[in-house]
Symmetry: D2
Subunit: 345 residues, 4 copies
């Protein structure tokens, strides 16, 4: 059966495996201080258009979120997040495990607004008992969001301005950053992200790497002693070069963007097939995750042919189902899915 249920069902882009094989027996120092990591750092700084940033490589997303948030907050502070944010929903309380509350803001489409941040901030300080409340200490958003949606340059600029006005570091979870930046509907560049965020990460695991996320720290207060915080949370990889090699390969000639762009293209073909069939979408996602509302009969029929993921309850008895593409999705499998959608009851 063909998988469309997530964007991490395969290993990694073949070029990375080749590089791992080629360099396998060369010796290097550990803990991310090797040449591959250094080179990957340079490539990422160049892609971000800034030299005054720190780049660290971690293994996975939850680990990255723990480490960044823990490094950024004082004990009594919490992190503002859309209620749909990965840290609020799907990390088994990993943020709370570091002693911090996730302060959720309502969201329909995975996004929040600068106004919501401002209101949360003002409401906190307006309270006569604010010392009895968790103080908002930073803002977490995802780009693209967990719903596949994107912030526009205008929206993100306003959020960034609000964050700086209130001295709330802005952290962008870029687990699927590549899919966001290469979406035809996106008007943000990587240098924009590096300018507007205080810290963000460039997702590897879901964008072509075997493992790995690259944390980019733009704010010196968060950068200070960051390697200690990585180690404290068990995220310091002994053979750090494995991570360096992934990002070296992904960033040396734009591979990261090329493979994500293609995955978006295939995702639109799936979306369009559902639209042609008259299936209601669940939100409008301009990236590699597509959410459609199917009947039970349609789900049963589809489940015999393709693996997809149940997302949540939809309208009128339908269920929201997620179909994902990735750097590894083939044109052949998408064509087969298009045909199946057409034939679906």
């Amino acid at each position: 059966m063909v998988f469309f249920q997530c964007d991490y069902a395969e290993g990694c882009h073949p070029r990375i495996l080749e590089k791992l094989t080629e360099s396998n027996l060369l010796q290097s120092v550990g803990y991310g201080l090797d040449e591959h990591c250094e080179n990957a750092r340079s490539l990422i700084k160049k892609a971000c258009g800034r030299e005054d940033i720190d780049v660290h490589f971690l293994v996975g997303g939850t680990q990255t979120n723990i480490t960044v948030i823990s490094a950024s907050l004082r004990p009594h502070q919490g992190v503002l997040s859309p209620e749909t944010g990965h840290i609020a929903c799907h990390e088994t309380g990993a943020i709370e495990a570091t002693g911090h509350k996730v302060l959720t803001l309502p969201s329909q489409d995975g996004k929040i607004t600068a106004e919501q941040i401002e209101t949360a901030w003002r409401d906190h300080w307006a309270s006569s008992v604010h010392e009895h409340l968790v103080q908002p200490g930073m803002v977490y958003i995802s780009f693209p969001t967990e719903n596949g949606t994107l912030y526009s340059k205008e929206e993100l600029t306003k959020i960034s301005e609000a964050c700086r006005r209130y001295k709330l570091p802005l952290f962008i979870d870029g687990a699927r950053l590549g899919y966001g930046l290469t979406s035809p509907e996106n008007d943000l560049t990587l240098p924009d992200i590096a300018r507007l965020a205080d810290v963000f990460y460039i997702g590897g695991t879901k964008c072509g790497a075997m493992i790995g996320e690259a944390v980019v720290i733009c704010h010196p207060d968060i950068a200070r002693d960051f390697r200690y915080v990585i180690k404290r949370h068990g995220g310091m990889l002994a053979k750090g070069r494995i991570l360096g090699i992934q990002f070296e390969e992904l960033f040396k000639d734009g591979l990261y963007f090329d493979i994500c762009r293609e995955a978006n293209h295939l995702a639109y073909r799936i979306r369009d097939a559902f639209i042609r069939k008259g299936i209601p979408l669940f939100g409008a996602s301009p990236t590699n995750q597509q959410f459609v509302q199917l009947t039970d009969e349609q789900i049963a029929w589809m489940d015999q042919r393709f693996l997809s993921e149940v997302w949540c309850a939809g309208e009128a008895g339908r269920t929201v189902i997620r179909f994902c593409t990735s750097w590894a999705t083939t044109e052949k499998n998408v064509a087969a899915l298009e045909k199946a959608i057409e034939e679906m009851p």
Copy 2:
């Protein structure tokens, strides 16, 4: 320059890379529930001679220690450890970050005794203010130890008996387990370990894998909900199969043991060369780490030829230096080191 400073300077055993390449485009479910992980679990259970154990795959050692210890203790309990234990010394307070104190016991050679555990337990409960003290809640030891030494079957049996008498789960850090089990001076088998410990891990990173440690849980109280605890500490790898493949390959025909045995053999050649030269050893290590006491002049001379690691201050103005072999160490490099030792001032 040739590296002898650690056992994680290279990538991984070539057979693992081949397997990663071969399986790269096959699709599998995430989070360690795939066929490779299942197969690796079966192989490990078989090697342990027990079916009633749980096996989980994690990325690195500190992460594994955090997860196991956090899953085993109640809040007010601490973990007894030799003062030389990795959790006590080299993990940036990762255990304390989970809220638990490391209760250290004196050790010269990296080992502790059943008597020390008994005394610590009795002293605790004999105190009239025991509720003002951290309660010993489990025992952590390493096999081999951080000093390269081994527990004999008799010693480990006594420790295990003491632990069971006092209901203290026994956790064995096996970051270098392969080197310990294949040492000519060792009289313990993997089934012995699985019988005497309540939880332990089979180190991959330092024993041939690219990444990965296999946690073996023998006690049902620790096993319960363990996957939640993994996720909570950021250790749930999306592409879990990467870890499964490593251990599948290492355990399908004894590769794990073969490569560690050979590394020990090469380590003895290095040790013997130092002995022939009249260099005082720092403890007697029967495994892949060798500790020798060199003069400043000798260190300066050696540093121009080989990378080794400064360990601690030695006797009579000498410094303790560590030389490690690994699955990747070549006979040719060892021969060159032997020659250098002979020629050293």
Copy 3:
């Protein structure tokens, strides 16, 4: 100006001060092991109608909540709570500081239902990614709630049954327990509470004591090593007898209940005065806290005469204001407030 804004504006019931004075120079052992604490424990066990329970004395409510919840959960578990619960809203993330998420359930009136608990439990286990979610590990409710409302015997019995069915310890925050048990609308007794809850506390601070809350533990798993957990969270009072004396006096002849009953009586007089005036209530509270919806003009007028507390936004431009009585509220002050309500614009 007379205070009606909270129930902790005065010191303590005069009989407690007399007892503190009388016993002041007698010597006793520390940390809650003295005769006063022992005697208070016996009195509370008797009032609860159970001998097989543990009683501990702590200083304040947040401290009590931290200690009980931390002692009850494994690391990956969270505590289900109404979204209005004190632990969810007004404790500066104290629960999260112990590593646990507060899992909130919607509530209009401060209460939740057995059905909500069942649904939360089933939804958790029905999820295909439940290990990525915080596992519900216990239930927290308040009696009376933060809104002044009460659970009926039938409601609490159903909640208790649901909790026991799913092995979720039920924790009742009784910061204002006395006002709840003596409400004319209440049909629960202290022995009912001690039978239906797994752990609860009898609030002292808001019910006549100077400081102090009495934790009653009915479940042996929570009771085990509880004194360690108290000390670990800084809650072990050196001069524990101070707490023992408070509860000794409050429980030796029913003083606790007498003073709370009278406070409820005075609260109804205030409520009735507002009703007579045609002021819309905010919920129907049968206890010592009364919530009314006033216009800005009315608030301004009242603020010049009495101190009350702004609660939240109300309907049609009104604001919800809280008026509290306590054991210390005088008939004279209530009469003055009644008169003011009548004259209010």
Copy 4:
């Protein structure tokens, strides 16, 4: 039986009880913002000779240590402490519960030196793997120490200078500050303490108060948002005025110092009686705790007459026993103890 085993066996100085009684029915706002707390703050600032400090009132010592240390450190930092420090020994891992390691320094008499701090700091930064170690982030000492000893002005000045050189906040645990400041061997004043420390506390519980410790914060980084941190750790007393009244009374005319001075005087009488009897002391304590080395026979004989506390093993089969005086110790009881010492076998 008469108690000499600790300095918290009685209630509080009678003048405090009178004040509590006198003010009992007056209404005041909660959480330490009332007039009594404000007045006590002014008195303490005046006694410290500084206006630019913050004063907060907490209930007990462990709670105070948690709150101060948690407010001062970043996650990866630990607190340097003598191995005899209260936070290292007798707080059930309360500091570790906030995620921080206590980094212990050897001590014979409860004190550490500026040199030890400097060495710890240099060793940390000299390590090639310092990011794998807990970073020293502050220094904790006690005045007087747990052994009753005192730092001289010269010693404390050097420690303070070392701390400031390395930007390590200096925290002085003053649980028994009064006994230290009024010792005839002391050459430090309260303004000296307030000038040399970055944060310290003036112990109430062991120095005449019923409950309460006054935290004095001299460094603005620690002062920022400190009330949030108090609340987060369950230390925000609803009826804060109870604490304010204690310190108001103790500091309005020097009562705090007068009663501690007298307790020291009585402790020397006990010490001198033991010296006359030829009993070896355990260290030389110039404050209210006296440590003597008794034989088993002497202990058995004494135990029938007075309650004292077993401290640790002494020399030549003897056991170290602690005798404490306090503000409540009577001349009559000391005379009886003197006589008993003389008659002791």
